[in-house]
Symmetry: D2
Subunit: 345 residues, 4 copies
């Protein structure tokens, strides 16, 4: 298969390139970026120096359609809303890593992203690709909206209890923390080493655009679930997301029963690991891998349940899950090109 990656100059794009290079069914990878002239990919990413002859090509939708069987969009928000209608056709499936195709309601997109939404015809075709929970739709889809990094960690952590319908409406609080690669490669003061190093900050309090994405999916699972409280923190590390989630339960389930629920829920999922020994995961345990590790613990003093879910934001939170979805869409083994240990240390 011939694959196109649009937005290959970003961190999500180059991570797609790394994984797809390992994929036995992929015979050609074409990389595209904004900018009028072709440049060697190794000029933009020196770690590729001498190891690839790939060249970043300008964004010409017509050419891109002709050259590729499947297209990944790893672009900033606002781009794929516009590009997807030009690129998608019977022969070409689209996997979009941006937030443009995730919200079903275009008004909600406008409200949270402050940009022009994709056409409703596109939105209605787009499948929300939380791999572990949408297998059927993903297999049938031709436009895939790859979930955001925070929503992936959060929704995988919440799915078992929310789908079991035992969460008290309005009780969900998500305290999320991310490494800096989630902020993209474009330099600004927020990603300046000297400003980030030895520093922890909180941002977009109550205003993060992943809030409606999470709520949309939770509501699909439990229409009474209500609004969430969601905070995002920037941690001085390169990769990794941890979502620490607090919920109250409608039913008086104990730790044993909850543990059983989680283990069974993900028993068939190769990438989701439920800790069974009372320990909690740290983000480095999934560094460079497509895994999600989850621990749960109910506090007998407060009856509140704490759920901890970790992923690598560039892998399960972006490129890794996108390739997992690609595998599912084309009928390849789900773990193809993703079956490696994390890089540790």
């Amino acid at each position: 298969m011939k694959i196109g990656i649009i937005g290959a100059s970003g961190y999500g794009g180059v991570e797609l390139y790394r994984i797809l290079s390992l994929h036995p069914e992929v015979t050609e990878i074409n990389v595209y970026t904004s900018g009028a002239e072709e440049i060697p990919y190794e000029k933009v990413y020196p770690h590729l120096y001498g190891k690839t002859t790939a060249r970043l090509q300008p964004l010409n939708p017509e050419y891109i359609q002709n050259e590729n069987d499947c297209i990944f969009l790893a672009t900033p928000s606002g781009i794929s809303a516009r590009l997807t209608p030009q690129l998608h056709n019977e022969g070409i499936k689209i996997i979009d890593l941006s937030g443009d195709l995730r919200l079903k309601n275009p008004n909600q997109y406008t409200e949270w992203y402050k940009k022009v939404p994709a056409p409703e015809t596109i939105l209605s075709q787009a499948v929300y690709g939380l791999s572990e929970l949408q297998a059927k739709q993903i297999k049938e889809g031709t436009i895939l909206a790859n979930p955001g990094c925070y929503p992936t960690a959060t929704l995988l952590g919440l799915a078992p209890v929310v789908k079991e319908n035992i969460v008290k409406p309005g009780s969900i609080i998500i305290d999320a923390k991310s490494g800096v690669s989630g902020a993209g490669r474009k330099p600004n003061l927020v990603t300046h080493f000297v400003e980030v190093q030895d520093n922890l900050s909180i941002y977009k309090v109550h205003e993060h655009q992943h809030i409606p994405e999470i709520e949309q999916q939770l509501h699909d699972w439990d229409s009474q679930i209500g609004a969430i409280t969601f905070s995002t923190h920037l941690v001085p590390m390169t990769r990794g997301i941890m979502a620490t989630i607090y919920v109250e339960l409608k039913e008086d389930w104990g730790n044993y029963r909850l543990q059983e629920l989680y283990e069974q829920f993900y028993a068939a999922s190769p990438f989701v690991h439920i800790r069974t020994d009372g320990t909690f995961p740290s983000t480095k345990e999934v560094y460079g891998s497509n895994d999600c590790v989850i621990s749960i613990k109910k506090d007998p003093r407060t009856n509140r349940l704490t759920i901890v879910s970790v992923i690598d934001n560039l892998m399960k939170g972006a490129a890794g899950q996108a390739v997992q979805n690609f595998n599912m869409m084309y009928g390849f083994k789900e773990t193809t090109a993703l079956d490696m240990f994390p890089l540790y240390p």
Copy 2:
């Protein structure tokens, strides 16, 4: 004044040494540590090389009493419970930075610390030294229990609403994050650079010994407040604590009124700064200073209030607040030796 620092080989102890060296009323600082032999302080802390002739001396309570007017204990838990009765007398005030003298109920100490508590006669004399809120007791005290790092950030963040009696009982969730210096200088796998770097972990879920300390103080302010949910995370940075606090209110106060409450509450506190411009603090903004910076924001979607409070764990969370309390106990200006900007960047 002649000051003794017991536990001067730890990070809290050497931070006391740094600050007290700037104190105009302090004429002599004696440093002590466990270990049978005297050693030059600069051998243990090379940044002092050539800048001090101080020597770490063995722990001989009798000598220590004779040589000092006031004693700071910056020891691991379990030590000052035993030492304070030997050191304290009419002439010598004790300022304890460990957790040994904070909990009024010795059984609670045993339960959470798994160690032998201090005698009740000592516990009953010990004043809990949250400087901004216990001024009267601190001025009159001769044994001071300096608050923990997490409790300081948390309690300063919660005091205005809890003392106003507008917090819904049982609704408080504290998601706390700390730099690694809070784990002490003793090497172990948890503080190994390679294990911490580029990593975020959660620890002691529902089991941190600061939980009863926070609840004891909250209960003093509002006896109906109930139990808290409290999580602690280890962030790959040297200094800094951020407490992200979520509460529900009994009363329907808006952001404007809440903001006013906070600003008035701390109007006379030189070290507590309430952000008034809608921005939130990061931990590096208080690096090396005794400040606490607080921002608040109520979410109209959920009616929940988010409070963010940051401190330097070694300063306002330990040595800085201890010197602030020392100033108050001896009638010096509260900001003496603490009146400097954070080190930024």
Copy 3:
């Protein structure tokens, strides 16, 4: 093939485990460590949790011989000097990642390592496995002394000019810098996060045990080369080595001719990349890969040549090169299990 890894609880050992798990010719990996009882590997390395059933087994040389076709020793110095004679026989090849088998002269080992050397019969059989330069010997060897991390970066950087016999004797200065994983997993003050973070230190000045290893090999290439000056620095990063090398040339070669020499020298080496565009490599460009990247530049003002060579200390500097040598010893393709891009970012 069945592979044994002794010292699998260390960083070099777990990196071997990661790579060998990708190796198509390896059907079984057995992991061993000191300690009397078997424990699940995932208990020691939580990033393996739920992904392997491997158990760390005690060190019983007899069993180890029976269970494996080839053995990697990733042990601290002093262990394989003793174990190799017990493990090696006609059927079992040994690949030693420690420094025990590298120095041909046992007295030199005693002098620099302060430990008991391996028997001379073992030392005389051991092949020094600098993969790019010892292909013939490696293919024929049954005991392989895998080069140290600093020597690998240094020798690959120096080989072209030293083998060309154009370096002025006694003129070589190597200013080397390493990430912290090179110091091993055993916790001590030198690897404590708080002591390393935001810190750069120099250690073992003129006394590093890699000095005789480098000189032994250089002397093999040019017997007049003389002694080197060698400094090692600890950089606050997890992985990576950079050797900045300064040499004076006997001949007046210009940059163009030198560049040509380097490019031709490594033209057939899949892992060594010579920069041809005037830029210099950084360590992150080889993060997690078996590559070595080299840039050179002669200064017309001083006539001195600066050579910069970077590797990942756990890969090309340890486990990666060991697997490369394994491939060569058994006749597999040199790049098997190593043919991946670096993890970036």
Copy 4:
């Protein structure tokens, strides 16, 4: 005294502000930056939030002259060459932290900085302010060229042997390493957290603009000293410079005699500390202080001398030395406002 800081939005400027705020002879600090409108200083540096009412003012030379008794320029290169002639007069002394006034030869400035040099009348008045070695000139100067960060660490390390005239001409190699704050606050890919973290890079090989500055001073001390080899590395840390210096000696001095030379040379310098116990300094030992720590060790195997010199690039390498020079120029005690321990950890 009323002090003006031009370029107060940069890291050097805000560090000047921190120190001068502690200075008992400074009654007023005015801060200036490019940009047409006044803004509160705390908007640019949130760690100042609520702690200062200072406002960054536009650059109006006439006003600046009227409002201040002494002016510090902490501007990028190219600015003070133009501003100094406008600001300097009988009443106003200038302390320039940029590179504009350091090179006596304007052609050399043009060659290395690629910018328009300052007028020769200004250059001829400018005193190169290496505090420990130019005391007399500094006291008499009215225009002070504050040394660069690399030159300060390097020259303090080399001064004793070069002034003693025992260094072999052309033998000096300086391998220098810096934290990222030296690259300034303007965001770009080189200072992006994700690109710097866990990474070590080398830059401006043989081309750094500090080369002529170092050589000019060395030549003043020993006109035969010749050209230097000088390399600069970017280390993933906020502050700190280490210069590892290699020299050959003309005379056969041993370690004991060299040690004695260094100790005597700096016996009267409050900020320069020579290690006497065989240990070497790390950069964190001078974090936030004006100290320079130096260790030396001659290698009996090569007869080469290794000198290690560390400073905080923002303090002794910029703002700290500038205030030290200010103290000397105005007859204040040399250590005023600088007499504090480093911040450790």
